[in-house]
Symmetry: C2
Amino acid sequence: MPVSPQQFDIAIDEARAAVEATLDALLPRPDGPEARVAEAMRYAIMAGGKRFRPFLVCESAGLFGVHKGAALRAAAAIECVHTYSLVHDDLPCMDDDDLRRGLPTVHRKFDEATAVLAGDALLTFAFEILADRDTHELAEVRVDLVRRLALASGAHGMVGGQMIDLASEGKAVDIGAITRLQQLKTGALIAFSCEAGAVLGRAPRERRHALRAYAHDMGLAFQIADDLLDVEGEAAALGKATGKDAEAGKATFVSILGVERARDQARMLSEQAIQHLDLFDEKADLLRQAARFVINRRV
Amino acid sequence: MPVSPQQFDIAIDEARAAVEATLDALLPRPDGPEARVAEAMRYAIMAGGKRFRPFLVCESAGLFGVHKGAALRAAAAIECVHTYSLVHDDLPCMDDDDLRRGLPTVHRKFDEATAVLAGDALLTFAFEILADRDTHELAEVRVDLVRRLALASGAHGMVGGQMIDLASEGKAVDIGAITRLQQLKTGALIAFSCEAGAVLGRAPRERRHALRAYAHDMGLAFQIADDLLDVEGEAAALGKATGKDAEAGKATFVSILGVERARDQARMLSEQAIQHLDLFDEKADLLRQAARFVINRRV
């Protein structure tokens, strides 16, 4: 029996509350003359968000009986990387955004230099969290998480995706190029979020790969839905400006495929993602529901 | 018999050549539509520099019979972190520098967004290098390096130091504050450079601590000498503008202590650093010479 949308909402709220408590406990306290950078890190993190990646970590970890505290630490690390990428992407020299989640962006609330440094510190902190003994008793597991997070986030991962995104503004881009862009920019970290639970749980390779394949398709569906929201969403509900992509001359799945075909594509990817979970039992139902959620969300 | 300045020069040149070859082999190749970020990473790294931190890693590793390849990988990781910090510090919103090592800074050669991303990718890449199995056969050692590098580089390490540096521009700063600033901004990574060899060599705690203490004093001496060079050095030899600190209204060891007392202080710290190496035999002679070198360098 599939979980209801209500059960899904409860589960995602619980994961959000738990990872926020974990982040609050772990993040550096504003202290000493360098307090401002810790303040900006906390501001960036605590501005909220769906905490969708932490939810994926917790759910994938749950498939393998991973200790909740360990999953939450990995989730916190991934949320630090996600947040740092938003802080840097919002900078005037990048997307130049004033609002994020309905609040002033970090460089607006503090200043540009502090935003650069807070981003740097959040990225660094993610690796500190993963490397700490509290994340897993086995060094082999901790260092595997570090390596995979670095690969997902670096020059041929998330940062590479942002590079492509900036380089393709105003250029004609085909569906292959935009798919690669999004796989790097958002897909790699989403895939790692799902994989992290399998790494923590020392899952067999086959199950780890199934989760990666799930994350791959679900992540693309998520991105297409995001592009649809940029066209159709309401700024108030989203807490950020809409129509920005078109304004910036950015190619998106929607600008290339059109609304209808983009919606079909997202639906198809969502179904495909769910099929990758066939080798899991009902413990994976919330992940299945997540694949449905991403294409139906309104915020 | 202490090593001669010539032998020291040869040793530092050898370490430089070796770490540059390692970096060239390891750094991502410019490939795919995201090539620009890899190009900027290589540009930033290959612009040169003394490679003083890599030298410290190799020498401290040599005390414990660490495999040369392992030491060079750790050295490369640290150089990536050092270089990323320079790329971000040079940004218009930070120190706004046009020249670095006689060449256009990354945001001048490329653009600001690429400089932010290249810095992010270099930092990320440092952790990827350390976490890779090629760095050390024991996961315990690799993850320990990751954790210590993150601590040295983060909000209460190097990034914290840069935050204090920016926050104290134009403010009255005492000698205690400037010492803390420099311990975080440059001292923490120099200390880790010396400690990394001990971690790779699984050295007893006492020897690891001796290296940290050495690095602490030598690092401060290095920074005071840097401040002296900013006042007395020649722009042409340094490949960067001099007198920038005074112009920016930045307090330095020299502005607080005056040239003579600053020079005395550097000399005293250099001698103290050498004393911390008393429990090592002549294998540590190049490190002893390094402590002399830092206060006598002209570039």
